[in-house]
Symmetry: C2
Subunit: 526 residues, 2 copies
């Protein structure tokens, strides 16, 4: 394979550029060999691998990021920013555009501050949820973190991509407070109260004065976030974990309609999760035990699996946090509501104040609700056997039973056509659900991988026709997903492009991210 | 007084412009006489009145706003956008720049949608809190609104200015979901899921896909918001109002430190308010009863007033919402914590489910916590006698007793030097407090009005030296407040200016708002 170069660069020009990067960050932190660059491929690419990086640079400080950006701007080298973690479902650390230099921030891994009294952390992009959890435990602070499913994820990265977790602080972008950002011209900006040099309120009050830009720097390519504040939940006095199993496939509608008022009135304060049977089964068994034929598991095989494993068609997993008497009361209220669904089977585990969070819930999904980072979610990769991989379809769903049922039927049917099981579930925000479907495939099987990729594309289009769109997507579908946002002939994209042109006229920052391209590449096939 | 004209316009040119506006919206909706333009003066101007409008235009629809903006852009007429309500503490409906045409949106007063199941409203800028409340009552929806102190305020305007109320939905900008915005080129954009034409999720999930711009259109002059979604709280089953009086001036520190954990763990879910003695007394008496000398009320007069009215040095007002048993339990928890403050005197009023919200709490501050809009806050204008007016100083304060005490001492001392009582209090967010001090003056007394204005300026500077800054400000101090945000030589302002230049190159939208000026006026004395 010939060497990958940034668009328009000769080998010699690129070598000179790399030397300039080396002068800033040291040669060992400029990654150029094919072997070393493998970590910047998409390991779970559906069909065709995502574009290749030309090199990677690993700065250790904000000042080094600024210096790199200034060089990149001068030489017109596109940078693709990543932090730490894997991003397995959405394209890994691969750039959207072939020939980008990956700006890898994982060496910037300082927990800058944790404030126990006011409940927040200020961290750099290389800090993982594992890191932050360990730091807080080590310091003995009575604070919980809110990890997303994979604990190796970056706190900054996950928050910027609007990831979510499962405690009452599960909406990560809503819990973000204050950013430091390097702009494309190398200038450093702090948002909110951080825009005041002497302020102690950077992580206390979000908007600051005048326009607030935090949302603009999320899922975007307008700047490089080098520090981010995140609110942390005070350790609750007690904690209760609840599983509610439901017998019928059609129960989904009643589950959602029962859950919504409990979420809205604060009885259940966390991002409760409604998991489909296959997803639950994947945590405790392998697919071959239930079905070895071609295509998606037939309904009879699913029903047999449910019966033999004694699991629900759907399982609702939620938790309660707070003073013991309040938790007990809210549990009785939630239980009473859920028991109205015929066949509901509710079980509960309690954790007293002195064992929180010392006793770690064992099941994977339970750990997340207990604020403990883990990796057990990847058990799913064994579901189908072979070299397991997955790609996710993540539409937002109104928090109504009829919408959830409609999306479920739509996805299950289409997945079946392409030979995939409905491996999915719904995580309950307040007024919306995150509907997450994973197409699990054997990446050693080229046809299966291609089918997974094609299924994803069709699902985005199916959803669009029904007025549903995704909150996040794999690199391959960023343009397609963005295209679903079509009000007034894609007016929002035009706004994004004007801001892109104003803040990054050379177009060096993460070209193509979420469908936003610099002027020079706009409308071209990339 | 000679006629006010937009900068650079002759009488004839302006007449021609007004005729073009008339052609779009009809002559009766183009306001030009000095008498009619009086409603666009700042009625509470501290010292010098704010700049005068050249005219006002009152469109009835988004399409008319677009047409007006296109004309203004073509002719370079600066527009100053206002909606409804009074904005008395912060400059009224007056423009920051003399010669602006006020774009008055109060005729756009449709409640476009209220969704009871999912708890939200979509409204136009002319809808006041009174209007929305009446609409919901009339339809019989079991939803509460969250009004700010003056019920005549615009839901859209207050939310965009990051106003706040007193229920659990008190952080208005955090409860906003989805906007429609007219840009300076007349183009229409919808944010979040509204960027998808066929989506039913515009008011359900905020960020959408890619960069999110809602925060950027708040307290800014980058666009004109013509529709806005706001989340509404489901009517609670029961509701409890609590007043806790405290005996000592120094109790403020313990009150704040007792309240913070109760707010953070969700025992108290609303924006509880800690009111100073003068503010409480102003609701039930006039100042002349306690003091008729020069300058601020002396400490002995305040103490006599407190004794005779049997009020607290500080009074904490909070409320609990939800199922009766949960409310009762949380009340016991809150009461137990507050009783640890020596001399605390706690009283409570309960409202059962069938009387919510039919029974209206009588006291002004209580109504807000019950989601009922009112105007009783303006009782304060009688405090000092004469032609009462006020101007507000609104620093953000960390939610710690030591910071609250420091800000209180700082403001009280400086106010005293200028002859003003400490009329103020703290509204408790989660990790910050909104510290609101009102300088109450007789606008018939030129010296007093000027002193109020001078005091405000000095307070902004005092606060800045201590690392505190304001969340909002009167027109007169927008540049000064913005200047306090000085990190990296005012990097945030440079970012705002770049976005301003990209989105509004002609500089026609609300010049000078929050200190952001178009390129042509930047750095000039305005």
């Amino acid at each position: 394979m010939s060497r990958i170069l940034p668009p328009g660069f000769s080998e010699r020009e690129f070598e000179a550029a790399l030397q300039r990067f080396s002068a800033v960050i040291g040669k060992p932190h400029v990654i150029t060999t094919a072997a070393d660059l493998e970590s910047y491929l998409d390991p779970f690419a559906p069909g065709n691998a995502a574009a290749y990086a030309a090199a990677a640079v690993r700065p250790a400080s904000t000042e080094q990021v600024q210096a790199i950006v200034r060089i990149a701007q001068e030489l017109r080298i596109p940078l693709w920013t990543v932090s730490t973690g894997k991003n397995l479902a959405y394209g890994g650390a691969a750039p959207r555009l072939k020939g980008c230099v990956v700006l890898d921030l994982k060496r910037m891994n300082h927990v800058i501050e944790v404030n126990e009294e006011l409940g927040y952390a200020l961290v750099e992009p290389g800090v993982s949820y594992f890191d932050l959890y360990a730091y807080i435990r080590q310091q003995g602070y009575k604070l919980w973190i809110d990890p997303p499913a994979p604990g190796w994820g970056s706190v900054v990265g996950n928050t910027l991509e609007r990831g979510f977790g499962y405690t009452p602080y599960g909406d990560h972008s809503a819990m973000q407070c204050g950013m430091e950002v390097v702009l494309a011209n190398g200038e450093l900006v702090r948002t909110g109260m951080g825009a005041m040099a002497g302020s102690s309120m950077w992580q206390l009050y979000k908007p600051g004065y005048g326009a607030s830009y935090d949302g603009m720097f999320m899922q975007s390519n307008f700047g490089i976030v080098t520090k981010l504040g995140i609110w942390l939940m005070p350790q609750p006095e007690s904690f209760l974990l609840c599983h509610a199993r439901f017998r019928q496939e059609a129960d989904l509608e009643m589950i959602v309609d029962t859950l919504r008022p409990l979420r809205l009135d604060g009885t259940i304060q966390n991002n409760a999760v409604i998991e489909g049977a296959v997803r639950w089964a994947a945590g405790i068994s392998n697919r071959e035990r239930w079905y070895e034929g071609d295509g998606a598991m037939p309904q009879v095989a699913i029903e047999r699996m449910i019966r033999q494993l004694d699991i629900g068609w759907w399982t609702l997993r939620f938790a309660l946090y707070g003073r013991k008497e309040v938790v007990d009361l809210n549990y009785r209220i939630a239980r009473k509501a859920l028991e109205k669904i015929p066949g509901a089977d509710i079980s509960v585990k309690r954790y007293a104040s002195d064992t929180v969070p010392a006793v770690e819930p064992s099941a994977a999904g339970d750990k997340g609700q207990a604020g403990i980072p883990g990796l057990a979610v990847f058990q799913m990769l064994n579901w189908r056997g072979g070299n397991g991989a997955h790609i996710d379809f993540s539409p937002v769903c109104p928090a109504t039973g009829r919408d959830a049922m409609k999306q479920y039927r739509m996805v299950k049917t289409r997945a079946g056509e392409y030979g995939f099981d409905y491996y999915g579930g719904f995580t309950a925000g307040l007024r919306h659900l995150y509907h997450i479907f994973a197409a699990i495939f054997d990446r050693g099987d080229v046809h299966q991988a291609e089918q997974a990729g094609e299924l994803l594309r069709v699902l985005v289009e199916d959803a669009g026709k029904q007025g549903y769109a995704e909150y996040r997507s794999h690199l391959e579908y960023m343009d397609l997903v963005a295209a679903q946002y079509d009000f007034n002939d894609h007016a929002l994209m035009r706004l994004s492009e004007r801001i892109k042109d104003a803040l990054d006229p050379a177009g060096i920052l993460s070209p193509g991210k979420q469908g936003v391209w610099p002027a020079s590449l706009r409308g071209k096939k990339t």
